[in-house]
Homo-oligomer: 597 residues x 2
Amino acid sequence: MKHTHHCAQLTSADINSTVTLVGWVDTIRDQGGIIFIDLRDRKGLTQIKLEPHDNEQLGEQLKHLKDESVIAVAGLVSPRPEGTQNANLPTGQIEVVATELQIHNLADTPPFPLDDAGGDKVNEDLRLTYRYLDLRRPRMRRNLQMRHTVSKTIRDYFDEQDFIEVETPFLFKSTPEGAREYLVPSRIHPGEFYALSQSPQQYKQILMVAGVERYFQIARCFRDEDLRSDRQMEFTQVDVEASFVDREDIYALFEGMVKQVWKQAAGVDIETPILRMSYQEAMNRFGVDKPDMRFGLELVDFSETFRASSFKVFSGTVKNGGSIKAINAKGLADITQGELKSLEDAAKSLGAKGLAFIKVEAGEWKSPIVKFFSDEEKAALTAQLGLEDGDIIFFAAAEWERACSILGRVRLDSAALLQKRGKIELRADDWKFLWVIEFPLMSYDEEAGRFVATHHPFTSPVPEDIPLLDTDPKAVRGQHYDLVLNGMELGGGSIRIHQPALQKKVFEDVLKIPADVVESRFGYMLKAFKYGAPPHGGIAFGLDRMVALLCGTTSIRDVIAFPKTQRGQDLMAQSPTPVTARQLKELHIQTVVPETD
Amino acid sequence: MKHTHHCAQLTSADINSTVTLVGWVDTIRDQGGIIFIDLRDRKGLTQIKLEPHDNEQLGEQLKHLKDESVIAVAGLVSPRPEGTQNANLPTGQIEVVATELQIHNLADTPPFPLDDAGGDKVNEDLRLTYRYLDLRRPRMRRNLQMRHTVSKTIRDYFDEQDFIEVETPFLFKSTPEGAREYLVPSRIHPGEFYALSQSPQQYKQILMVAGVERYFQIARCFRDEDLRSDRQMEFTQVDVEASFVDREDIYALFEGMVKQVWKQAAGVDIETPILRMSYQEAMNRFGVDKPDMRFGLELVDFSETFRASSFKVFSGTVKNGGSIKAINAKGLADITQGELKSLEDAAKSLGAKGLAFIKVEAGEWKSPIVKFFSDEEKAALTAQLGLEDGDIIFFAAAEWERACSILGRVRLDSAALLQKRGKIELRADDWKFLWVIEFPLMSYDEEAGRFVATHHPFTSPVPEDIPLLDTDPKAVRGQHYDLVLNGMELGGGSIRIHQPALQKKVFEDVLKIPADVVESRFGYMLKAFKYGAPPHGGIAFGLDRMVALLCGTTSIRDVIAFPKTQRGQDLMAQSPTPVTARQLKELHIQTVVPETD
C-alpha cells in the first residue's frame, strides 16, 4: 500500500477520490462503534473513519491499535458531516472513510505526551532518552525544519556571493593554550594524538594563502568546556574568510546574509546598515560588550559630579582613577528585599563591595547614602537620569571597566524584574542587531603577568595603532567585530594579520609566547605567510544559537537533533562507555581512573 | 587600493578605463627595461605593463618583486600592441599600463613549480607540506570549485525533493564489531570513551522513527583503517534516508540526483533509468560486484562443457560442485612473460592454484593444457568465446564465487594491458552507471564459524525470502543496492528492517550475536522500533570519490583540501603530535609506547 497523498493535502476538491495515506496514529477514539483516527505525518493530520462492524478483519486489526502506531489506510475521501468540520485544519472539511488498513508497526504507550504543552512539562532527561519521540512533537519538528531552512539560505547566499564551501579536517593538531580540546590517540603513531578542531581558523587562513579568496563552511567544532545551557561538546559554526577585504566589506556581506536568513526563516525585513558601536561606548552606555538594545536603562557616568563629593566612597574612587556610574531602573522602586539582595549578590560576584541605591517614593529619596549627597549632586542625578517618583537608582564605584560591568549586570537583571511586573516588554522577535567594534587588541592578564589576545592572536591591529604595539599595547584597537542580537553574541571575526613579520612580533614581542612554542604551534602558518599571503579577514557565527533565536527558544539543545546532556552524555544511544582492552592496546593508551572513596 | 575588477574581466570594451587589480604575480619578465607581469587571481590572468624608468618609486619596488608575491596595481586599460594579443585568454586583447603599485606581501621562491605539469612531477609529500602552494595550481583550484558545485547541486536537489538536512553527532558510542574506530576519552567520565561516528547509520534510522520521513546530510565519517590511495581517516558521505519507500523509490531518487550532478558539474546528460543487474549476474559475467561496463571481455561458464572432460583438473572441480569459467582477452596473445606472471600472481592472490591459458597464434592453440581437450571442448570454447587468431583465453576452476573473482581480476588486468597496447580505450568520461542488486543478505564467515551480514545487520531481506532465514540463511537475498560507476562503488544502501522482532531475530538467531551484546550496542534501537517505526530505507554515497571521478583523478587526495598522508599525517600543520602530561591527566589516560629496538 503506497501512499497517494500526504496528511495535509486532501480538501473538499478531492471528495470521492480513492486515496491511500500512511502515518502515525495521532489519536484514536471510538464513537459508538465507529472508530476515528487522526492520522499524522510530518505535513499534518487527516481524519480517518473506520466502521469495523461491517468488516471483521478491520475489527480484529483495530483491537490492538494504539497511539503512535504506524499504519496505512485506503478509502474514499468524504465530506465531514455538517457541524463536525474543523476550520483550523487544511484537511478539516473532509475525512477518509477507510476500507483497508495495514499496520506497519504497533506502538507501545509513549512515556510522555507528544504534544507541545505536555512534552514541555517533562524532565529533559526523559525527552533526551526517548529523543525519537520528543522529535515527533510539533515544535521540535518545526525547529528541525527551521534549521534546515537557515542552513540552506546561508549556503545559497554565499554561493550567490561567489564563495565556495571547502571542507577542512576535524582531526587537527593539539594547540593546548586555548579552550580545552578533545584528543584522539593515533594507532599508527604510538604516543601521539590528534585534537578535534576547535574551529577552522587556521585552515581557513591557509586557504586564503592558497588563493581561494572567498571561502565559507558550515562546520562542526569541538570544545571540551564545562557545559552550560547554551554550550555543547560539538556545535556548528558558519565560518567565512575572504581576501582583499576590509571591515566595511565584511559588514556589508554579513548584513546581506542576516537580511536573507531573517526574510526566509522568519519573514522579517531586517533594516540595514546595522548600527555600529565601539566597545568603549557599549561598555559606557550598557556595561557589556553585547548590549541588549531592546530597552534603555542606560548607564550614566557621574565621575565628574562626585570628584569632590563629601561622600568619600565616591570621591575616593574617582581620585584613584576609578569611575562612578549609575542607572535608573525606572519604575522599580517597588523592588522586594529578596530581589534587592539578588541584585547585590550579582554585583558582588563581579567585584562590587555592595550595591548602593536610591529609591524615590512619594517625593522622598530613600537610601542609606543620600545623606552624604549635596543638593548639586542630587540635582545632577535627577536631571541626567530623568529621576521620577517610583524609580530606583543603582550605583557602581570602581575601576572603569568593572564599574561598567557591574551596572551592566544590574541593568539586565532590573529589566527582567521590570518585565515580570509588566512595566517593559522584551519580545523575542524584536530583532535589535548591533555591530560592536574597536575592541582592545589585548588585555593584561594579571595572573600570567603578560598581555593576552582579547580574541585571538591573528587579529590585525587598527593600522594607525600599530606604533602603539611597542609603547602602549593596551591602547591598541583591533580590527575585530562582533555581531550582537538582543544581548547575545551571534558571531565575531576580524581582519587578520597577513604580514609574517608583524604576526611574529605579536606572538613573541607583545604576547611573549616563547619562540620555540610559536614555532611548534604556528610555525607552519608563519612559513605559509612568506609565500604570498593576501590581506584577508573573516567571521564565524554560531549556527545553533542563531537558529535557537529564530525558533524563539533559549536552549540550543532544542535545535540540535541529538544533543548531549550537560554531563556530556547521549542518554539515548548511551555514550560515553568503557571500551575493550584490545581497543586501548591498539591505541597505545591505558586508562587511569581515579580511586573513588 | 581596492580592486575594481577581477583578473579575467577586462576586455577591449574597457580600454581607457582606470582600474585597480589585486592578485598574485604569476610571472614577471623584463623586456628591455619594461616590466610585464601576469597578475593572477582565482578567476584568471591579466597582463600588467610597468615602465619603471619613468617612475623611481616603481623601480625601487620592482627590485624585490618575485613570482607569487601579492600586489595591487592601478592604471589604464590599453590595447596590446598588434601581434602580442593572446586569443586563449579572455583578457588577451588588453593590458593594464600601471602607474601605481602596492606590495601586500613579498614571496619567497616556491619550492616547486605551480603549473599543473610542473607540480605533477613533484613528490606528493612536498605538495602536501606546502599545500597552500599546491592548491594554487590551476587543476587543484578547479577541483575545489568542482567539489563546491557538486555539494551545492546535491543539497539543492534534496531540498527540491522535500528532504531536510539534519546534523547528527560525531561523538558517538563505541561499537567495536565493525571497522576500527577512533576513540575520544571523556574528561567528565573517567575511563570512558566516545567513538567518532563511522557513519550516521543509526542516527538516521532513529530520525525515521522520529517522523522526519525525508532526511539527508553531507556528513564527515571517520574510520581508523589502513589507508590506501582511495582512503582517508576522515571522508565525506552523502547520507540519505526516507520513510514509506521501496527500492524503486530509492532508484528513482538517486538517478535524479546523479542526472542533476552530472549535468551541473560535467555538462553531461546521464541516461536513466540506469541498468540493473543482480549480484549473481554481475559475478557470473564480470567476476565482481562492481563491474566496469566500459568494455566486454565477459566471463563465460564452461562447467557443463568440462563436466566429463578427460582434463581431470576441470572435471574434478565440477564434480566437487565447483565452476569452470573462462574469458577471452581479445587480441592479447602478444602478452609478455612478465605480464603473464603478474596476471598469474594476481590470480593466486585470490586463491587460484595457477592461471591456465590458451593462446591462439597463426591458427595454432598454444597451451600446456590444450592436449587434454577434446574437439568438442575446443569447439565449445571457440564458439562461445568468439575465439580468433591473436586471442588468449584464461581459465579459472574453483568454487563458483572464487572462480568468478579470479577471472574478474584477470579481466580488469587484461583490459589494462589492452589499453596500454591501444587495442581498447577506457575513457574516464565514458560514464557507465549500473545498479547491482539482490546481494545475499549474509555470508558465512569460515573463521568465525557463523553468518555475518554482507552489508550491515539492518538490511531487510527480500520479503519472499524471509522464511529462508531459518532454513537456508545463505540463500536469503537482501534489499540492498549498490550504485556502480566504471568499476567503482559510488554508493550503496538498503531498505531496512523496521520490525523490532525481525531485527532481534537477525541479530540473535541468524547472526548469533549474544543477547547481552545486542542489548548494549543496539538495545536503544530495538527499543525505539517499539514506539512506531515506519518502513524506511536509504543510501550513502562517497562524496570524495564522486568528485574525484568528475575531476578525472583517481586519488581522492586531489579533491580534499587538506588530506592526511597514508601514514595519517598532516604534513603541513604537523599532526599527530605528543601532548602534555597535564592534558593526559585531565583525560584519565596515559600512553603505553612500545619499546623500539
